[in-house]
């Protein structure tokens, strides 16, 4: 059954018990993202700190999400993967995740980089669900960009001008 390729057990687990859910303080930047086709939304905050070498590191990700199993599980898994990473490393993971889910099933995911998130490889075959998987990840990317540019203050995806 094709369904179980997409909805792997680990995805359903994260969906039922999302990691790191809820909005917390303090945070350096916040991003609000929506999926205009289905109305799903996520508000995601990122808090950064500096490690011993002065490099920025992800201290916390907190979020409030309305959405399907895929979008909820993907956001949950994001927090597992990037909290504690340097910002630079986290961007590498985001890049690999985007590459995989947008790859139409033709991209061999790198488990070393993506860990459990390779479970989303099945989503890549369903183009309409790719945005679901990316919702939280795009919010993270946006929030980090804002945190690095000008700390604090909420935002919304800027396409609406």
């Amino acid at each position: 059954m094709r369904l179980s390729q997409m909805y792997q057990e680990i995805i359903l687990d994260h969906y039922r018990n999302p990691h790191g859910a809820g909005l917390r303080e303090p945070f350096d930047a916040e991003s609000f993202q929506i999926n205009p086709t289905c109305g799903d939304e996520v508000t995601l905050r990122v808090a950064l700190k500096r490690d011993s070498t002065g490099e920025p590191v992800v201290a916390d990700i907190s979020y409030y999400a309305l959405g399907c199993s895929i979008s909820q599980a993907a956001t949950s898994m994001l927090t597992d993967l990037v909290v504690g990473c340097t910002v630079a490393d986290s961007m590498h993971i985001v890049g690999a995740f985007k590459h995989m889910v947008q790859g139409r099933g033709a991209v061999e995911p790198d488990e070393d980089v993506l860990g459990d998130a390779v479970a989303f490889a099945g989503v890549a075959k369903y183009p309409a669900r790719v945005k679901c998987a990316l919702l939280g990840w795009m919010a993270y990317q946006d929030a980090v960009a804002r945190a690095v540019e000008a700390p604090a203050g909420p935002s919304q995806n800027g396409a609406g001008r």
Binding site: L3, G67, C68, S69, R129, C132
Partner: protein
């Protein structure tokens, strides 16, 4: 069942016999988004293109004559289908363009030095109001928001009751109202709105009425003149016809007085570098080379629907809707969003499955070959009104069967099982 041989009719629709996802027969329950085309429509368009194609209203050679005849004959047949006269039918690319056409034409009457008569009749300003409803498709909401932004007018709206009906008691129509725009049938709730009552209220204050007939004209007999509306729109692709063509109906007298929207070739009377004057309707509103073969295809769709009979179409779809409402109601955890009884109700059936997001329900259905739509169906404010981001929507056309309703209901149960909420 109705006296309709659905199996025979389905043979006219090549796409319906295909399979999806590991060889499952397709169960197409997304005709509210776009319908499939019978080969009669495909053949009509192809025959036109292989034999008569030319630029219409422009050439003097034989092909141009034939193409113009085909195009104008299409207009006449489509007009007759909805109780209109040919010169009251303007071809647009879709219903959305039709609504924008009216909105921009009123906007154009409001700015710059247009003729005084059009300005007096159609201009909007800060004292004026436009009334819509909370159940509108974005196509019949956003153009009015934008028109208000451009003119300073105010947008007001009828709310929706929890039963999925317009709240007619809280009536925003007043002496300030210049236009009332609403859908004949909601593309989410299936609700059929009380056109004559709303027309009467609009008339009482001298307001114009625009009817979004996208979800009614394909599914039941509609006589626009009898309904008494000033404008109406519908789309070819939702009524077994081609994409890329829609219809704006406007009462002749109004179209004749309205300033143009899109400008360019074929809609002019006289052009000088310093300024231009415009042809009478419908040409005034059809700038450029039009969607010729698509008009021919849409007329073939109208002929096809006529050959079945719109009353038969409506009766068949009523049976499907009834079956869907009854059988879904039997599934614990399923909640219909919209009227559950068949009074003033068409065949859009939207629902929620407790504990399973609409996208996930849709995915399970898709895996079983059942194509439905999930999301806000371009009616986001309506979904917000019901406190949800997304619903699952099944919509029917004349080619659907009761067996397909069963496939839908079985699929919903399967989704519950899969996600452990069954």
């Amino acid at each position: 069942m109705s006296p309709l041989d659905v199996a025979k009719l389905r043979a006219d629709f090549p796409l319906l016999s295909r399979t999806v996802r590991d060889n499952r027969p397709l169960v197409y329950l997304d005709s509210g988004a776009t319908s499939q085309r019978p080969r009669q429509v495909l053949d009509a368009e192809r025959a036109f293109l292989e034999q008569h194609n030319a630029a219409v209203h422009r050439g003097a050679h034989q092909l141009a004559e034939e193409a113009t005849d085909a195009y104008e004959s299409a207009r006449a047949r489509i007009a007759a289908f909805v109780g209109a006269r040919p010169n009251e039918v303007v071809f647009t690319k879709n219903a959305t363009e039709g609504i924008n056409l009216v909105a921009y034409s009123l906007g154009n009457a409001s700015i710059g030095a247009v003729d005084a008569y059009a300005a007096a009749r159609f201009a909007l300003g800060p004292d004026d109001e436009i009334v819509v409803t909370e159940m509108e498709h974005h196509a019949n909401l956003v153009p009015w928001q934008e028109l208000c932004r451009r003119t300073g007018a105010t947008l007001r709206w009828f709310g929706v009751t929890s039963a999925g009906r317009l709240d007619l008691d809280d009536d925003p129509i007043s002496e300030h109202t210049k236009l009332v725009a609403f859908s004949h049938q909601s593309n989410v709730l299936g609700t059929v709105n009380p056109v004559k009552e709303l027309v009467a209220r609009a008339r009482a204050v001298g307001a114009l009425v625009l009817l979004d007939a996208c979800q009614s004209v394909p599914h039941s007999p509609v006589d626009l003149a009898e309904l008494g509306v000033d404008f109406a729109v519908f789309s070819g692709h939702k009524m077994l016809g081609p994409s890329g063509i829609g219809v704006l109906y406007g009462r002749a007298e109004l179209l004749a007085a309205m300033p143009p929207f899109l400008t360019g070739g074929s809609m002019i009377e006289l052009v000088r570098m310093e300024g231009s004057t415009y042809a009478p309707p419908p040409q005034r509103f059809e700038a450029g080379v039009p969607m010729t073969s698509q008009a021919v295809g849409l007329a073939a769709a109208v002929d096809y629907l006529n050959s079945i009979g719109m009353a038969t179409v409506a009766e068949h779809e009523r049976e499907l809707t009834e079956a869907a409402l009854v059988r879904l109601a039997d599934v614990p955890g399923v909640r219909i969003v919209g009227p559950t009884e068949l009074v003033s109700r068409g065949g859009a059936v939207s629902f929620l499955v407790e504990g399973v997001h609409a996208h996930d329900v849709g995915q399970v259905l898709d895996d079983r070959g059942v194509a439905v739509r999930v999301g806000h169906h371009c009616a986001w404010p309506l979904h917000r009104r019901f406190g949800v981001a997304a619903t699952v929507r099944a919509t029917f056309a004349v080619y659907n069967t009761l067996h397909e309703v069963d496939a839908l209901v079985d699929g919903v149960r399967a989704a519950q099982t899969f996600f452990g909420v069954g």
